[in-house]
Symmetry: C2
Subunit: 337 residues, 2 copies
């Protein structure tokens, strides 16, 4: 590694940088080599929802997709943090139907949908959001299907010692090349276990998944195809995962996680990227990952231009005037540079 | 300065620190001496709403308080970032009445009130928030009164070259001991100018204001008495400025600013404190300032205990379970230590 590096997202107001987000990033190839980094690539933090593509793999490998006839669209929702639009909750419901359970079986708590139309519709109807609106309801529905397919009682599926969670942890360990004991466990926002590990290992898992998809391995290929064929199911309108995968047209898969995490896998280059906005700020995530992808030439200048409003978000005052900007300040250390 | 210092706020999930907020802090005495610090005490950022006590001083010094019969309660609202409760908007309206203008004259844009009851009441009545609900409406109403008292046309009072803003900038320059030209100007969230300057100078201004209040100087004494006698007008229920000033019972005055700024003045010690959460996160502000105040023994262990839920905020999952904590990690460098 060499060169002066900088890995941050700046928030300006007028001519002054008002706030600054530190970003840590690891870029790893499928062989586990660190190819580029910013900040501390060995920072330990939680994988959060960026782990969802790995969490969905057992659905394919354990025969649940086949047995319950899950479509790629439904599998994409299992890999997603959806916006709770009518289309998203309908797909979540369909998965639950196939598993023969209702939304009452889900442990994820309700939160207002990110989707503006869905939020307004609920408000106007005087309705409270339900469990299906939780951005993780696809993942939870997938856990139901997995339990059914394996003949496990779904009850208590959120507990770390439930066979569903033990199966998923083994999958996360496999792709991150870590012993199960080296992965820290805590409770995610939706009530199921989440995983603490170094960014470098998160990046490796996305590189390995990308390489396996490129090689045509069944589970990784289906997960990759589901996410890239149905990017709208992975997030929603106006969100970076959806916009980035639409723009990249099958060249990469991308998944945000809460508290400023983002992971990308690039099959063609057999590379994985994992980054963490140190303070967890959501506003810094899109500028950070787009800055990193452009810096590594993994998205073209044209793609970057098309995603400009994500990389350079406007700061508005309460009158709607533009008073500043959120912008990437990324210059990675590159191996051998 | 000596000693190993640390100045941060940590966010844990289970046993792991998931996210981390860097904090910069300056503790300065009324003579301008840096007495303690954390991070970079010379960091330049925006004063934002922490400048409001200074912005309100001309109301006293230029005779507006006397001429329009502003009460201490009303003056406190002019120094505040209020929660938009019914009590707050009523006081803002009363100030405007005294100035002979209506809310239509205010340039601050509407945003939903922070106060839960007020927000619910608007929703249930199917009403949109108005300009009076803007947390800065007291400051804006004060600017109207100042314009009236000085015989200036209020129209365009938000522009940096309007006499109201030039008068206020001179006041900020006076207390921060900076030439006017050294203060950066940009547009605040509410549409009027805000001020970029080093944290050290923000802290100095609060120390100088505290010392002047202690010495009985009229403007500083009135502003100090207004804020400490009516802490509910400076913020609102469940917010740290109000809770801290209630708990400290006249021993300090405190004012939050957007994007992670906080300033405190302590008349008894003739000290001023200014801090900035580098990334601007609101969740880190109360843990940071309470950690700093306790570290300097400017609030007692009992006061700190009473404010525990502000210093150590719970992280909840969507089911309402406690899954982590926001907590101060503050060890300042102290002069001569």
């Amino acid at each position: 590694m060499s060169g002066t590096s900088e890995c941050a997202v700046e928030v300006t107001r007028g001519a002054v940088v008002e706030s600054r987000h530190h970003v840590h990033a690891a870029v790893v190839d499928a062989g586990g080599r660190l190819r580029a980094c910013g900040g501390d690539p060995d920072l330990v933090t939680f994988f959060r929802s960026s782990a969802k593509p790995l969490q969905a793999l057992p659905l394919v490998d354990d025969g649940a997709v086949e047995r319950y006839g899950l479509t790629l669209r439904e599998l994409a929702l299992c890999c997603g943090s959806h916006s709770g639009s009518a289309a998203h909750t309908a797909v979540a419901e369909r998965i639950l139907e196939k598993a023969g359970v209702t939304a009452a079986a889900l442990v994820c708590g309700p939160h207002p949908p990110y989707d503006d139309d869905a939020r307004r519709a609920l408000q106007e109807a005087g309705l409270e959001p339900g469990r299906l609106h939780n951005n993780c309801s696809g993942k939870h529905a997938g856990m139901m299907v997995l339990a059914r397919a394996r003949g496990w009682e779904p009850e208590g599926y959120e507990r770390p010692d439930h066979p569903v969670q033990r199966r998923i942890l083994a999958e996360v360990a496999r792709w991150t090349r870590l012993p199960v004991e080296a992965i820290g466990i805590a409770t995610d926002g939706c009530g199921v276990p989440c995983f603490a590990l170094p960014l470098r290992q998160m990046a490796l898992s996305f590189a390995a998944l990308a390489a396996a998809a490129r090689a045509g391995e069944r589970g990784p290929t289906m997960v990759f195809e589901a996410m890239t064929a149905h990017p709208g199911m992975v997030a929603g309108n106006g969100r970076v995962c959806t916009a980035l995968m639409r723009q990249a047209r099958g060249r990469l898969f991308a998944k945000v996680g809460a508290e400023g995490v983002y992971c990308v896998g690039v099959p063609g280059a057999e590379l994985g990227i994992a980054l963490k906005v140190e303070d967890g700020a959501a506003r810094a995530v899109a500028p950070a990952i787009l800055g990193v992808l452009r810096e590594l030439d993994l998205i073209s200048e044209d793609d970057y231009g098309a995603l400009h409003s994500f990389a350079y978000a406007e700061v508005l005052d309460t009158r709607g005037g533009v008073v500043g900007q959120v912008r990437p300040a990324i210059r990675l250390q590159v191996a051998g540079a």
